[in-house]
């Protein structure tokens, strides 16, 4: 059924042919989950490059001691915006893009539950991005209060801060609507026979992530709204003179902020949990445990937020509570790593690009996990909070974690999306360049933090000079390596080898690539092989394209 039949949702055409707009209008009015997924992914990549330019400017200034390129005030604007752009503009939309593309396909649904709201969720983002990036041009420049926007410093900022607040509200609305869409789709539109327990793990992790989004994005909205009213409407939420408390901001922000970091990593876990079994030709080890562990991580992520606030002056009991809770939550997270390794063990592995990124993810993300555990120990955190140690930690889990998983998923599913194979040579080059330069950039930062270099400073004492220089060189290498990724994606989209026919998975139609639109009522599932295939979820890969993996 690859021809596009009359679709009742497009009822107001002049003729009764199915008629979809083309050109720009197609992209503006699309309600198709694949189109919207592509829009999210391209938007995310553009924001990634923008945030990357800011990062390179920061690293260029930090290449040597002294102030050479930017003034301290602008430097702080760069660090602030780099964080916001990467978190809200690059990582989160990329995962939503994956969700849009893959979830309906994986559960056998024709599209997302609220297709029009889906369009709206996406198109809010470019508006928010223009506001956010436009804040550089406001009088006084962009906000320079750090991506965490602590009061009272953020209350001092100029108009750029108000634009930022507005942009955060818009992005929050987009995320909440997207999350509602995902929950509704997964809970209501699975094909007959597709029980929750048969869903690919990627769908599970996104289901849980969506609940987290719905729970905490409103909290962020509350925090920045209180900033807005403190700035302009005479409230004193964060001002002691008026009866408020600056630390209140930190509590509200981090109550959002900690679940937020899980929002940014759970979909990555899902992607990696799809890829490792496929390329090991072996089912995911402990699938049931993985589902349970993911849910418990999500719930327990709500009770650790103040480990970002150990130095604010909370009583010892508070420090101890959050230290214990954070250490305990590390356990199920770490255990998942064991599950992945156990999946690989006694498998039959090949190392195409998705597998390279997935294995690289496990290796480097785990290092980030260790440094996180070290940060969780309060007395140690007193020394390393607000230093480059923390910068190293979160870049390990967010870049080597989330970003590498995004790369892995892109290479893994590009053939499905485009019908072509990507260039394996480019993919491998991208992987090796990325992982090597990534480590050159961020590993020395652990030493810098331990030795006493604070974060968010444009100039530093001379003993920090050589590691900073190394980190800058690595950063430029890492940044340039991403152009390889762009080249690989463009080359694949434009054409390339056709991807191999699939077998061994459940299909609702037999043509490939995926047609743009599938029938509203899914046909019965054709189970071509055992139940186990749902666990892998994606196209089975072969290095030699001749046989199904066994």
């Amino acid at each position: 059924m690859s021809s596009i039949a009359h679709d009742p949702t497009h009822g107001h055409e002049h003729d009764h042919h199915a008629h979809h707009p083309s050109g720009v209008m197609r992209w503006i009015t699309t309600t198709n989950h694949k189109d919207i997924g592509s829009l999210y992914l391209w938007f995310s990549f553009i924001m990634f490059l923008a945030g990357g330019v800011m990062a390179l400017t920061i690293r260029a200034e930090l290449f040597q001691p002294g102030l050479q390129i930017v003034q301290p005030e602008f430097f702080n604007q760069l660090t602030t915006m780099h964080g916001l752009v990467m978190v809200f503009g690059a990582i989160m939309p990329a995962f939503v893009g994956f969700a849009n593309w893959q979830i309906p396909l994986m559960i056998g649904a024709p599209d997302m539950a609220f297709a029009r709201m889906n369009n709206w969720s996406f198109w809010l983002l470019p508006v928010a991005a223009i506001l956010l990036m436009g804040s550089f041009l406001a009088p006084g420049g962009a906000s320079a209060a750090g991506w965490t926007l602590y009061a009272p410093l953020s209350v001092q900022m100029g108009m750029g801060m108000d634009m930022l607040i507005f942009a955060v509200h818009i992005m929050g609305a987009s995320s909440i609507m997207g999350a509602i869409n995902i929950v509704t789709t997964i809970l209501n539109m699975r094909a007959p026979g597709m029980t929750l327990m048969k869903m690919p793990l990627f769908c599970w992790t996104w289901l849980i992530t969506a609940y987290l989004l719905i729970a905490v994005m409103p909290v962020l909205a509350g925090a920045v709204t209180m900033l807005l009213t403190d700035r302009h409407f005479g409230t004193s939420f964060f001002n002691a003179a008026g009866g408020g408390d600056p630390v209140l901001y930190q509590h509200v922000f981090w109550f959002f902020g900690h679940p937020e970091v899980y929002i940014m990593i759970l979909p990555a876990f899902g992607i990696v949990s799809q890829i490792i079994p496929t390329f090991s030709r072996k089912p995911l080890f402990g699938y049931a445990s993985m589902v349970y562990a993911t849910s418990s991580i999500a719930i327990l992520s709500f009770i650790v937020w103040a480990h970002h606030m150990f130095t604010t002056g909370m009583p010892a009991a508070g420090q101890l509570f959050f230290m214990y809770a954070t250490m305990l939550i590390a356990v199920p997270t770490g255990v998942k790593v064991f599950n992945w390794v156990a999946t690989m063990w006694k498998g039959s592995m090949t190392f195409e690009t998705p597998m390279l990124f997935a294995v690289g993810f496990i290796f480097v993300f785990t290092m980030g996990g260790f440094t996180g555990l070290i940060c969780a120990i309060t007395p140690i955190d007193i020394q390393i909070q607000d230093t480059y140690y923390v910068v190293a930690h979160f870049h390990y889990v967010l870049v080597a974690g989330s970003l590498f998983a995004i790369f892995a998923g892109t290479y893994y599913w590009l053939p499905k999306w485009t019908g072509h194979m990507y260039d394996e040579g480019l993919g491998r080059l991208h992987f090796w360049a990325s992982i090597i330069f990534f480590n050159i950039t961020f590993f020395p930062m652990h030493f810098l933090g331990l030795a006493g270099m604070p974060r968010r400073i444009p100039d530093y004492a001379l003993q920090f000079a050589d590691f900073n220089a190394i980190a800058t060189v690595g950063a430029f290498g890492f940044g340039l390596s991403q152009l390889i990724f762009l080249a690989a994606v463009l080359k694949c989209v434009k054409g390339g080898q056709r991807r191999p026919q699939r077998s061994g998975t459940v299909r609702t139609d037999s043509s490939g690539p995926c047609p743009r639109q599938r029938p509203t009522i899914p046909s019965k599932l054709h189970r071509l092989s055992s139940k186990r295939c749902w666990l892998t979820g994606g196209p089975p890969w072969t290095g030699d394209q001749t046989s199904a993996p066994r």
Partner: protein, 70 residues
């Protein structure tokens, strides 16, 4: 959370709690997971989950208070 009025439902309460506790540990046998999947009421699971989280937090608080009072 009702206990139900017939024996299978009573067992359901204990199973719910057991499933939630195992989820806190992050480990589950496939067979038990299938059993859970077919027999558990999701609403009960959510309630049990929240309750268990509260108990978890209170336990840590108790430990902390004990430690601090030393």
């Amino acid at each position: 959370m009702s206990d139900g009025d017939d024996t299978p439902q009573r067992a359901g309460f204990l199973s719910t709690v057991r499933a939630v506790l195992w989820s806190f540990a992050g480990v589950r046998k496939r067979r038990d997971y299938n059993q859970d999947a077919s027999s558990l009421n999701p609403v009960h699971v959510i309630i049990a989950g929240i309750f268990a989280a509260v108990v978890f937090v209170l336990s840590i608080v108790l430990v902390v208070r004990f430690v601090v009072s030393q």
